[in-house]
Amino acid sequence: MDLSFLAIQALNGLSSASSLFITACGLTLVFGVTRIVNFAHGSLYMIGAYTAATLVPRLLELHFGPVTFWAGILASAIIVGLIGVLIEVLLLRRIYGAPELFQLLATFGVVLVVQDLAILVFGPEDILGPRAPGLRAPVEILGRRFPSYELVLIAAGPIVLGLVWLLLRKTRFGVLVRAATQDREMIAALGVNQALLFTGTLFLGAFLAGLGGALQIPRVSAHAGMDLSIIAEAFVVTVVGGMGSVPGAFLAALIIGQLQAFGILIFPKSTLVVVFLLMAVVLAIRPYGFFGRPEAVGGTHAVGIASSKRSPYAGLIALAVIGTGLSLPLIGDAYMLKVATEILIFALFAFSLQLLIGVSGVVSFGHAAFFGLGAYGAALSLKWFALPMEAALPAGLLLAAAGALLIGGFVVRLSGIYLAMMTLAAAQIIYAVAFQWVDVTGGDNGIVGVWPSAWASGQVPFYLFTLALVTIAVLLLMRIINAPFGYALRAARDSEARAEAIGLTIRRHRWLAFTISGAAAGLAGGLYAFSRGSVDPSLLGIPTSVDALTMLLIGGIQTVTGPLVGAGFLHVLRDQIMPLTSLWRLLLGLIIIAIVLVFPRGLVGTVRGWGEERS
């Protein structure tokens, strides 16, 4: 490892920092003005790469020289900017006042829609773009060859930073954007049309995402899946830098670029872990990142379960549900039982999340972490210690609870969007460990052969076993929700200051709730591992977290039974429709968006709303 090698690594770090900054800069600008964390920002980046990889080769065929390459990159970024405008006008504009959970979910709905649309438009194949004319030959630096295109990228980051700085400091648009970042209502009272300002900001943000993606085409081929990998990194950059701060994003991107470039030398497989650990450490020390500021609480976070008169039929309904559950083996076939088993498991998973979101107001975006920890805990103890199911399930539950205890310690110090991002990061760390620590976890392939003990194998016994465990766990959670502990959590959710003023130790309560919720999710994960016979890293991924959130959303965040209904609904829907269409994600995305826009109270909440109106 000599000096020249270190220099090349540092340059590599700088060029990936530049690329990351350009994309993250757009994300942080959009957040600053609209207060929406746009999950679809990664999708815009992906569209930028696909568009450029498709467009630039055609332009180069015209033989106008190297300038066509850059014109193509710019044109792609502009196209993406216009798509950003479309997203603002059609969706974001309608949810500026919505709780942040809904905003995150709705923009994740866009992610799903774009994933399928991108395949429809650009085809399923990866597209490798052309190399930049005039920059094909490497340059020699300290006796080593270094791609000259990377040098251009290194310069691009500071250039974009400079231009954005000029735009924000020296133009009227910039003054208004910065003013709106602070006080949107006041800007309107001064006669500024916020809608135009927001649309303009979205254009700028999407343009930068598209530019970030388009600039990648000589380095990596455009492919499906770029969206979620870049968005995770861009989240880290914006959160570490301080949400809304452009210089913060630049600094964070520089640090992360170097960390990745040199981290790969020390821990060859741990680049993802290193990045997310950085975020965890920074947030633990500075809860609002380098240059971020506490959010002005808009009072829109808190949505959740309210106290309501117990329905006189509650007991009857519970009995009917359990009775139906018990009699299902008599009427259902094996397939139906398998589906029912999975619904029960996901119901418990979603219900455990309800304790966090609906009851505590803790918007976790990484609940898959505990589901996955439970599954892996069970699978690993079976594989490495040859424990039977009866011991492996509690082992999984304990692992998940321990993980939640550890992560919760960090998380409960935060609030709002930073909290959501921290939970997301925590889940991504665990995902990265499961994915990259191949020797222990089996990496991408996961662990197979996770079968239940003999007495519980077979569809009917395992179904009944699951039914029993889920019923007990849900009843326990309901008991917690309706105990003084649950009241305290709800008080803290609705008004932190008042709850603290009457002497509640909010952090400790939330920490305990986080741990309990993690343990319950872990039980669900363990059961899931045994029901499928295998585990793999996807159980820990963002889509799994979003699944739980979607179930909650479909059922209704303000209701106790919502998650159960939501789990059943989503599962059946997926089961029925997925085989029929290749556009399942598009459909699911549209469903999520529609629920946020039209039925924000979910199925159970809407039905109950009708009842309340009548009475």
Partner: protein
């Protein structure tokens, strides 16, 4: 006064959720006059101003400005018609410099009047001239109040809704506020002034409205209100 008022409000009501706070206010604001809206804390003064600006949900039988209905227009359209608003808590953009705050408020002048420029405003508020590049978060309350008014004047309004300009600032600056309001008036700008500081309001206003628990108790000239001691004692405690 024979000319129709600049701002005409008929039967204004407003509610926060289920709690109604305004119960049918009717008044007009004429060009070039200062109309004081006085009453105790919580009487509904701030809500009245916010309701006119479309910042809180409200209903009115009729609400017009320069003869055009305010209806359910969004706030920015109301502001663009020439109605300026200076909120009670000032709401300066603290990350922006004095000059940038003024820029954020800039709108073209509507009619032949000579437009307000930063230079003219610096003459009106000399303190601001010395801190053009200073950020809002490094200014005193009084300086922020001046900036808030100057920022709204940059929009060249025909009328200004001014919410508690004397609140929480030093007496010497309250004097400057009074000067500024007189200067606006001299320019032909109408001012609807919500105020708890009776002496301040009495010194600069032509007419007054007294509101109590969301209802109008008095509507007339300042001289009449000065003369009606029992009413003042009952509703304002002065």
């Amino acid at each position: 006064m024979s000319t129709p008022p600049l701002l005409e409000i008929w039967n204004l009501t407003a509610s926060y959720g289920r709690a109604q706070v305004l119960f049918g206010l009717t008044f007009g604001l004429h060009a070039g006059e200062v109309l004081a809206l006085v009453g105790r804390n919580g009487a509904g003064k701030t809500t009245t101003l916010k309701a006119i600006m479309g910042l809180v949900p409200a209903t009115a039988q009729k609400a017009t400005f320069k003869g055009h209905s305010l209806g359910r227009l969004p706030t920015y359209r109301i502001a663009r018609m020439g109605l300026g608003y200076v909120p009670e808590d000032r709401r300066i953009f603290t990350d922006l410099t004095v000059e940038e705050n003024l820029e954020a408020g800039r709108k073209a002048a509507s009619g032949g009047r000579s437009p307000w420029t930063p230079e003219r405003l610096f003459k009106l508020f000399p303190n601001l001239a010395e801190m053009r590049g200073r950020r809002g978060n490094q200014m005193s309350g009084g300086e922020q109040q001046m900036l808030a008014i100057a920022r709204t004047l940059m929009g060249n309004p025909d009328a200004i809704l001014l919410d508690e300009p004397s609140e929480g600032i030093a007496p010497v600056i309250v004097q400057m506020m009074a000067e500024a309001i007189r200067a606006m008036k001299a320019e032909g700008v109408a001012v609807l002034l919500s105020e708890q500081n009776w002496a301040f309001a009495a010194g600069i206003s032509d007419r007054a409205i007294v509101i109590e628990r969301g209802e109008m108790r008095f509507h007339g000239t300042m001289a009449e209100l000065m003369a009606d001691e029992p009413l003042r004692a009952e509703t304002l405690g002065v």
